[in-house]
């Protein structure tokens, strides 16, 4: 798929392993956080899903602290959907101001958890028929909103059955095929651009993490070189060994010989191997 499509699973949870998978085909579970037990049910589904899943939150009122915390728990599950490493949360609802406030509140809490750039996006428009979806998809591909590097917000489709998901994907693939036949050069460039964008992202990530680790290692070396480490070792030596009486230490060396830690000859001569490997 050229343009990312989110299939928002509303009234049914199909057998997730059987859902068609593919590049830029995403699945999201519609949850009303205010309904008791709804987030818990979705949590169990995301935990055991073989396919990456995200949440689409039906926002009817401001999110409570408990709800925000529960939503955050999802984002640590490895199977939670990420696009370019950004965790995706879709917000659905009729009140744009409430959606904006919810996005802000969620972002604030997630930032506190070290999740700095979640992809929190409003669900608009809500598409419910394959015809609407296909028309919207085609229109977006030809508009100036289309980013050929794959960094697009999604299209949101509410299928009422698993059959409709398959039908929608088949229809969208037909749009892609038509584009590839009408404008093969353009179509190939889009594919190439997406691939290169992903590779660039992966390389940039490795670079950033390596630079960060190098910085950590510098800090460790600084600590090791500082007086702290030497003092720690000296204090340990003094407390554990140096304060013992000389006769005890000498007996200790004989014990070492008996336990095979030191050679017998080294007790009498300095020019022989002292410790056994």
């Amino acid at each position: 798929m050229i343009y990312p499509v989110f299939f928002i699973l509303e009234d049914f949870f199909p057998s997730v392993p059987d859902l068609p998978a593919g590049d830029d085909i995403h699945y999201s579970i519609l949850v009303d956080p205010a309904v008791e037990g709804a987030l818990d049910s979705a949590y169990a589904l995301v935990e055991r899903s073989g396919l990456p899943l995200s949440l689409t939150l039906n926002i009817r009122k401001s999110l409570s602290e408990d709800e925000i915390r529960s939503i955050t728990s999802f984002l640590f599950i490895p199977g939670y959907l990420r696009v370019f490493d950004r965790r995706v949360i879709n917000l659905a609802g009729e009140n744009p101001r409430l959606l904006a406030d919810s996005a802000k509140t969620l972002s604030g809490y997630l930032s506190g958890q070290g999740i700095l750039e979640p992809l929190i996006q409003p669900v608009f428009p809500k598409l419910r028929s394959v015809e609407e979806l296909t028309a919207h998809y085609r229109q977006l591909l030809l508009s100036d909103k289309f980013e050929s590097d794959g960094n697009n917000t999604g299209i949101f489709f509410y299928p009422s059955s698993e059959t409709l998901i398959r039908s929608a994907i088949s229809s969208l693939e037909q749009v892609d095929r038509t584009l590839s036949q009408d404008s093969p050069g353009f179509y190939n460039l889009i594919g190439r651009n997406k691939t290169l964008s992903k590779e660039l992202y992966a390389v940039q990530k490795i670079h950033a993490l390596t630079a960060q680790e190098l910085n950590n290692q510098r800090q460790y070396v600084d600590v090791l070189r500082s007086d702290h480490a030497a003092n720690e070792l000296q204090e340990y030596y003094t407390r554990e060994y140096e304060i013992l009486p000389l006769w005890f230490k000498r007996v200790g060396h004989i014990v070492k010989v008996f336990t095979g830690k030191r050679t017998l000859r080294s007790l009498f001569r300095d020019d022989v191997k002292k410790y056994k490997d």
Binding site: P78, L209, Q219, L224
Partner: protein
Amino acid sequence: MSAALFSVFFHNYYGDHEAWVKLFTQQIRQPFILYYNIVEDSVYNIGDDQPLVSRLRESISGSFLKDIVLRRSPNQGKDIGGKLVLLDACLHEALPTPFSIFLHDKKSPYKIQGQQWKNRLFGIIEPDFIEKALSSFTRNDKLGIIAGSSDIRDEYDHSLKSFISTNRPQLQQFQTTFHINTTDYRYVAGTMFLARSSPLLDFFRKYPPLDIRKTLEKGNIMDETSGSNTHAWERMLCWLIFAQGYTIKGL
């Protein structure tokens, strides 16, 4: 399937996941659930999770490892932040295990004796140690924590009535905020220990782990020269158990 006796909370920064899971399955001879946190912004942990999850789950069959609950989180609060993510996951489970084991892939590359320390800390999952620990927990129902005896520390100076620690301001503040009323200020250096689960989970049901985690410092934190919330919580993980009437024992 017999019910798990232990929840093992393991935080990983340095990768090598299959080797770690293999170590746990070899060492722990009691039914256990492995809660496993991977630091996602670590250069040692770049890679796709899904094949890893499948491979790790496959390694379960036939061992005492009953389930793996994997989590992936940003580097915040070092191993304490990771353990809080895992405790949050654990609170979603219907039936918590009676005992917990806290571990992480400690390296302490800035300490000369880091490797020896790590080896000693991992002694708590030796089969003999676990047997003795279980026996002690059974004999004394007020025993909350068991750790290696040489890793139990106390930074409280009773004559000065104060902590000899760079983390003193944070410790005093947290005691008040979280109503930790204890006069036992021992803790386990390295934060690897066995604990009775009930006081631990009771505390975190009241004070959600993620709310605590958001107060922890991001990235690579050391308390060589100044204190941190993260290092203060190393101590608090023990004290919150003592505050509920339990004690600690070194083996």
